[in-house]
């Protein structure tokens, strides 16, 4: 039994190595991810706490000070109606990030759920995958327009204009972007299901929901995390497109996408109007991608500790 006695390391039995401690230790070694976390935290802090320091109302019109270049009073300048850009970027950031994260979570949960169910239960596979194909084949933009036309007014009257449209947009983006996740997850589950450790779990008598939660889900985490990080970017951009079409939030309600689209006509006059919202979107998406990358590595014990 030389193979066992050779590498007995003095590792005290009672000392518990916690999973999340290991994950955090590995995560810290991923430089990109750490920078990503720093940038993302910075953006969140600015967007949430900024309006308390820079107290100009983003919708306040100051026509005499329109199209200003950056000054001390208006660090990002003003737009063609004299609204302060920094205040708008911060207010828009709250909405855009909330939409991005919520819509991503919705599409992720939906996609992962459908993928796992379709992959694990053979009877449901055909039906669910044809449903996925159906959603993929739908022309998304006309569908969005129809949904928004149909439900905008009723939701507005129930939840108020802003919350109503928020729910609608998150829902619409969520249910039109889960298909990729579902397909990838299904493929992974199909391959995993035949692995011996799943058969071993069955031979132990592990119940099916436990097999899914304990053996299948942790092993499909990587593709799920990757589609999550891409999903945030996708949701922010789709929301921008909707706002551009006049179907998103009301026109006096800033979001990053709307600021970008409003600013594009004044690009030569005041380039700051597209640079700042554009930079905010890019940095958010990039930092989230790096965080996802780092998380994926940190959650895989085979990579951890290298």
């Amino acid at each position: 039994m030389t193979d066992t006695n050779m590498n007995i390391v003095s590792e005290p039995l009672h000392e518990h190595r916690s999973l999340w401690g290991d994950v955090w230790r590995q995560f810290r070694t991923h430089k990109g991810a750490v920078v990503g976390v720093a940038v993302f935290t910075f953006i969140v802090l600015v967007v949430v706490l900024g309006p308390f320091i820079h107290t100009i109302d983003p919708t306040f019109l100051d026509i005499r000070n329109k199209n200003l270049a950056p000054t001390l009073a208006h660090p990002m300048g003003t737009d063609n109606l004299g609204r302060d850009m920094l205040a708008q970027v911060m207010a828009g950031g709250q909405v855009s990030m909330l939409v991005g994260v919520t819509a991503m979570l919705l599409s992720l949960v939906l996609g992962a759920f459908i993928g796992v169910i379709a992959g694990y239960f053979k009877i449901l596979d055909g039906v669910l995958m044809r449903l996925t194909d159906l959603f993929l084949a739908l022309p998304i933009l006309p569908l969005l327009l129809v949904i928004i036309m149909l439900f905008r007014d009723s939701l507005r009257s129930v939840f108020g204009p802003e919350t109503g449209i928020f729910i609608l947009i998150v829902f619409v983006i969520g249910i039109t972007s889960w298909m990729q996740t579902a397909r990838i997850v299904r493929g992974e589950v199909l391959a995993l299901k035949e692995q011996e450790f799943i058969i071993a779990a069955r031979s132990i008598g592990t119940r099916r929901h436990r097999i899914i939660s304990r053996h299948i889900l942790p092993n499909v985490l990587s593709p799920i995390l990757v589609s999550a990080t891409l999903g945030i970017a996708n949701a922010i951009i789709t929301e921008s497109a909707l706002s551009f079409l006049g179907l998103g939030f009301p026109s006096d309600f800033p979001t990053w996408g709307r600021l970008l689209f409003d600013g594009k006509d004044f690009m030569q006059l005041t380039p700051a109007r597209v640079i700042w919202p554009g930079l905010a979107i890019s940095l958010t998406v990039l930092s989230v991608n790096y965080i996802g990358d780092g998380l994926r590595d940190a959650l895989d014990p085979r990579i951890r500790g290298r």
Binding site: D3, F197, G205, R302
Partner: protein, 336 residues
């Protein structure tokens, strides 16, 4: 073993732990747009044998003859097409899901590939304690102690509980798999080629460990292997499988000294002898052709297409299980 069918109604011999009775496992083949069933791969086609308490039954045969499928069907990891498997008098082929779950602790399995049979994202501790959690036997401190005890029993340092499978060598991983199989105090363990993926030097360690555990815990093994010399070492009786059927079943000594079935003779002639003088003179029986397709097995005796002594009746009638006396059974018209 023609007497088994009659014995079914009578009291079951208390010495028999596992009774496999005419077990069939066919995998359907679907073809065409309408996915109509056009045939079936007869991976296991009528197995009948007993495993006695405390013995090791070796199940040997070449690749693709249905050994692993048989092992999995016996534990009902596959739902058998037909037939019965009695373990401790209960027909597990008929049990419902919940009833089956209750008796899972009695029967466990050790897998071929120690890398694939351990979840890479679970620590050794959680892998070994999973069966304990599932059946809610112990919890808290007791569970920790039990996991330590199990790791100790298979020759692993109990301080390894927080490590992941990829941090171990192949032999150590197989020990983790064995510890998991032992966690529920099973009576019967199917060892599905547990040493095939291991280095030769590690094979002996794992086999010795299995033997030690058997004598300590009174385990009963179904030892599936294609390695005849290893089977000779560990098994008490051996069943030789070919194309989903058992060709010969007898004690190890008889099988190696007086093999009766032509297929057994051919298999044994392929085992090298560790003596160059004898090895040079050894006569090998080389079988012609390939194993037939299990989706379309030959008529009559399945071995007839490659049998060196086949006669007319071998191509027409399937041979019956015959008792040659002295606990030696064979499925051949001509043996005896």
């Amino acid at each position: 073993m023609a007497d088994i069918a009659q014995m079914d109604d009578q009291e079951i011999d208390p010495n028999v732990l596992v009774r496999v009775d005419d077990l069939h496992m066919h995998f359907p083949i679907y073809k065409g747009i309408l996915r109509r069933q056009v045939g079936a791969v007869k991976a296991v086609d009528g197995l009948t044998f007993d495993i006695r308490r405390g013995e090791t039954l070796g199940l040997v045969g070449e690749s693709g003859c249905g050994k692993s499928t048989a092992g999995r069907a016996i534990l009902r990891l596959y739902d058998p097409t037909s037939g019965h498997v009695h373990i401790n008098g209960k027909d597990i082929a008929e049990l419902s899901r919940t009833e089956l779950r209750k008796i899972r602790p009695q029967m466990q399995m050790i897998f071929q590939d120690p890398q694939a049979s351990l979840n890479p994202r679970m620590t050794v501790g959680s892998i070994v304690s999973e069966p304990l959690d599932e059946h809610g036997i112990v919890s808290g401190k007791e569970k920790k102690a039990r996991v330590g005890e199990l790791l100790d029993a298979v020759g692993l340092n109990p301080s390894f509980v927080n490590r992941y499978p990829h941090e171990f060598s192949g032999g150590q991983r197989q020990r983790i798999g064995i510890a998991r199989a032992l966690a529920l105090n099973p009576e019967f363990i199917v060892c599905d080629e547990p040493i095939a993926a291991l280095d030769v030097s590690i094979q002996a360690q794992v086999v010795n460990l299995l033997e030690d555990l058997q004598s300590k815990l009174g385990l009963t093994y179904l030892f599936i292997s294609h390695d005849l010399s290893m089977v000779r070492h560990i098994a008490d009786r051996v069943a030789v499988m070919y194309l989903g059927k058992i060709m010969e079943l007898t004690s190890v000594d008889k099988l190696f000294k007086t093999p009766k079935h032509p297929y057994t003779k051919a298999l044994l002639s392929a085992v090298p002898v560790p003596d160059p003088k004898i090895e040079a003179k050894r006569e090998r029986i080389i079988l012609q052709g390939d194993v037939p397709n299990p989706a379309n097995p030959p008529k009559g005796c399945v071995f007839s297409t490659r049998c060196p002594i086949a006669e007319d009746k071998c191509f027409k009638d399937a041979p019956k299980w015959r008792d040659l006396g002295g606990d030696q059974y064979v499925a051949c018209h001509l043996a005896g």
